[in-house]
Amino acid sequence: MGRLSVDLCGIELDNPVIPASGTFGYGYEFAEVYDINCLGTFSFKGTTREERFGNPTPRIAESASGCVNAVGLQNPGVDKVISEELPRLKKVFHKPVMANVSGFSIDEYVYVCEKLDKEDQVGWLEVNISCPNVHGGGMSFGTDPKAATEVTKAVKAVTNKPVIMKLSPNVTDIVAVAKACEDAGADAVSLINTLMAMRIDIKRRKPILGNVTGGLSGKAVFPVALRMVYQTSKALSIPVVGLGGVSTAEDVIEMMMAGASAVQVGAANLIDPWACKKIIEDLPAALDKLGIKDIKDIIGAAH
């Protein structure tokens, strides 16, 4: 185990850096410009039972130190992900990948997880119960501890792979939802998904986004995410994957000190395609500067 390596639910990562779902496609756009095997792993685009086009455009609006998106889970559907995306990915990525799963019903989560469970390339199932940009599903499962319990139990029943429940910050008490997932058998939780937000075009007097509302991500949300990771990891005994505005090696360190066992990088990939590679390359010097020998030693150091 190297000084950057961490364990996530029994699978060793060479480093804690994981591109977040929805900012890294199925990996190829990035594999064209650098060897993505330097990553700990990555979480692929949220996958549903059927193909989805997603929301009408515009789907992106800029904001101070961040952006609001309402893509709406565009993806080719789980069958095509298995028959087309995973074989293509295999050629450029040789580590277990994190499969991000979304759904509009418990049946759908189960259906998609059951299919992905059979894929050797998939290391973890990250179950998104926090998408703010779809109606009648997504986030509604992640804002109610009871519903979160049901999804977690149902998914755990159909897979032996580690299940990571991806949580929404759009709740009064994220710890309660996280705890419900832990009690229902989740192997880890990841947080935060985006914060519900919107922008208005003041010349047209209309919302910018086709979906009206969207989810805020980027540097602006980092302190909010950090606070939630801190509170959640203090209350839970399963690992917490921290994400939300992480853009630098120092952000990774701070997120781990808050209690994250691994860290996802989202919006930063959209501005700098090499962001994750640079963060990984910057980590050893950033650790040296702080006198940290092994990154594992700092998980929860601020507790």
Partner: protein
């Protein structure tokens, strides 16, 4: 796709609120007319996608209109300042389909990418006609530059203060062309689509997140499935376009 720090060598207003910027840097990722670059500006989170107007071994030219705070900041930048730019984005125009007498139809800041296209089509010996559409005479730019390439150039203005009165579509009926290429505001593209008598290629503009295919922020439906304007576009073939609304 490639990233480089470019050094600005020119940034000046060539028409009201329309600026031409030239910058030096590594341009080898730019391979086709119709591609775009994505420019990072201090204090703004997302990059600004802007089409390439001209390129050589070590320099690019972009023409942009000041429409918001980002382009306003860009317009205030001086020679010698540097910019972080992603280059070689988008599919670009396919020149192989042009026939011998291609027609280029540009509207406003849709004109710039057609300049590089015209230059390359002329280099192939094609008989190129361009119709450049603007709202008013004072907004007209690049008429001389197109003419200097040996392109038969017509200008239309919506208010009739210069050239032919009307839109680019008012000029296209009298032109004998084998194929067309167009870029401009979407209502203009739709009008060209409806009136054109040959096949052609359309360059679209969208709000983008990343500009290189990662975020699905600029997707559209086509007869060949879902496409990302930034990656499989911005140029779409006439026969695959589905107009929404």
């Amino acid at each position: 796709m490639q990233q480089d720090i470019f050094r600005i060598t020119e940034n000046r207003e060539i028409a009201p609120s329309v600026f031409r910027m030239k910058a030096e840097g590594d341009t080898k990722a730019i391979t086709k007319p119709g591609q775009f670059v994505n420019i990072l500006l201090d204090g703004f989170y997302l990059r600004r996608p802007i089409s390439v107007c001209d390129v050589n071994e070590n320099s690019i030219t972009v023409i942009y209109k000041v429409v918001g705070d980002g382009t306003k900041l860009m317009s205030s930048m001086k020679e010698g300042e540097s910019l972080d730019i992603l280059t070689g984005l988008g599919n670009g125009y396919d020149l192989s389909l042009s026939g011998n007498r291609p027609l280029l139809l540009g509207g406003g800041v849709g004109v710039p990418p057609l300049y590089l296209l015209a230059k390359e089509l002329r280099a192939q010996g094609k008989e190129v006609t361009a119709v450049l559409g603007f709202n008013t005479g004072e907004e007209v730019f690049y008429e001389k530059e197109f003419k200097d390439l040996g392109v038969k150039t017509l200008v239309t203005t919506a208010d009739g203060s210069y050239g032919i009165k009307g839109f680019v579509t008012d000029a296209m009926n009298d032109i004998d062309y084998t194929y067309f290429y167009t870029c401009g505001p979407e209502p203009m593209l739709k009008a060209v689509y409806d009136l054109s008598e040959t096949e052609g290629q359309f360059s679209f503009e969208r709000r983008m997140g990343c500009g290189f295919g990662a975020c699905m922020g600029c997707s559209c439906k086509t007869r060949n499935g879902f496409k990302r304007i930034c990656k499989e576009g911005p140029v779409l073939m006439k026969e695959e376009i589905i107009w929404e609304d």
